[in-house]
Symmetry: C2
Subunit: 200 residues, 2 copies
């Protein structure tokens, strides 16, 4: 006999959560953050607004929880044992995250929205940016420990470099990339960081 759920407990059905997650992504892609509404998400997910509010108290909280759940694991790169290998894998993961659906639509839209709402910018940084950066920082610290990077490496700038070049070329400029573009970015970052393992 199956165990009965105590009456009154807030039970969150995984199937409903999955449907809401899909609906949030679809609404972000189609309508953008500014026009996304709790009503629209509930309707698309085939549930009621109460199901959303049982999980999150605001639209911002809901969107960031859903984004973080998918975006942060995408930054988990296997340790390759070398700085070059780790950088190459990281740059490729960033490029895939920023240029493939749904994030190629969602990220620029959220950036534009955040320029109007500093509080949203801070919330995005806390929910998505910082956890992703913490993963990248670990790789840089291991490279310092191995002697591949100077001990006084500017970790903040190093982390900016990995995403900045890809974002500017592929998202802002939407410019063509050379077949070996990700390799070139990797070598550029290695040189910028003064890595001992750099080719030139």
């Amino acid at each position: 006999m199956s165990r009965r759920t105590p009456s009154g407990a807030a039970v969150l059905q995984p199937g409903v959560t999955a449907a809401i997650t899909d609906a949030v992504f679809a609404e972000l892609v189609e309508r953008g953050y500014a026009r996304l509404s709790m009503e629209g998400v509930a309707k698309r997910a085939g549930t009621g607004k109460s199901a959303l509010y049982r999980r999150w108290s605001t639209k911002q909280e809901m969107v960031l929880a859903v984004l973080a759940e998918i975006s942060v694991p995408l930054a988990e790169i296997e340790d390759t044992g070398t700085l070059r290998g780790d950088l190459r894998a990281t740059v490729a993961a960033v490029a895939a995250w920023l240029t493939e659906p749904p994030f190629c639509r969602i990220v620029p839209d959220l950036v534009a929205e955040a320029t109007r709402t500093p509080e949203l910018a801070q919330a995005i940084a806390a929910a998505v940016g910082e956890p992703r950066r913490a993963l990248g920082r670990g790789k840089l610290e291991r490279a310092i420990a191995r002697g591949e990077l100077p001990a006084d490496t500017d970790l903040e700038m190093a982390q900016d470099l990995m995403a900045a070049l890809v974002y500017w070329r592929m998202v802002v400029r939407q410019a063509p990339v050379e077949p070996d573009y990700l390799d070139r970015v990797t070598e550029t970052v290695l040189r910028a960081l003064g890595a001992t393992s750099r080719k030139t």
Copy 2:
């Protein structure tokens, strides 16, 4: 006696053009590209739609002409005679362009819009991106001629570097910058390019 304008000629009054330019910027900041309309711009400029269509045939053409007119001259940096000096001035100009009104609102909005409309991305590149990059390319070529940069410098990547770091940190992340941030970016770019004038 002042010369009379031949009747029937398309005379564009500079005062009207200036009012339209101001109106385009104000509408881009307040409403964004997607919701900007010829009607809204005409109303704000205190003129008729015909005054707009006499100058430009579409909304996209009007917006890009107005943006280019202001944005491209902002990339005209005086020749400092050294790569470090030119880079420092360029990075500072890019930071001012991207982080001060009205462009701090307009650029991210256009980037988001362009991810939905590849044709808009190409038009922005042609009207604003390429003329600005041509100015930057001249400085890099002079540095190669002076022997400060290798002859086979990846000019495309070099130009990306100057804007990419600033855009990522200050626009996408909206993260705090160190007091000497622009100096650090300059040194990072010099190292990335393998400049002979780099400090380390």
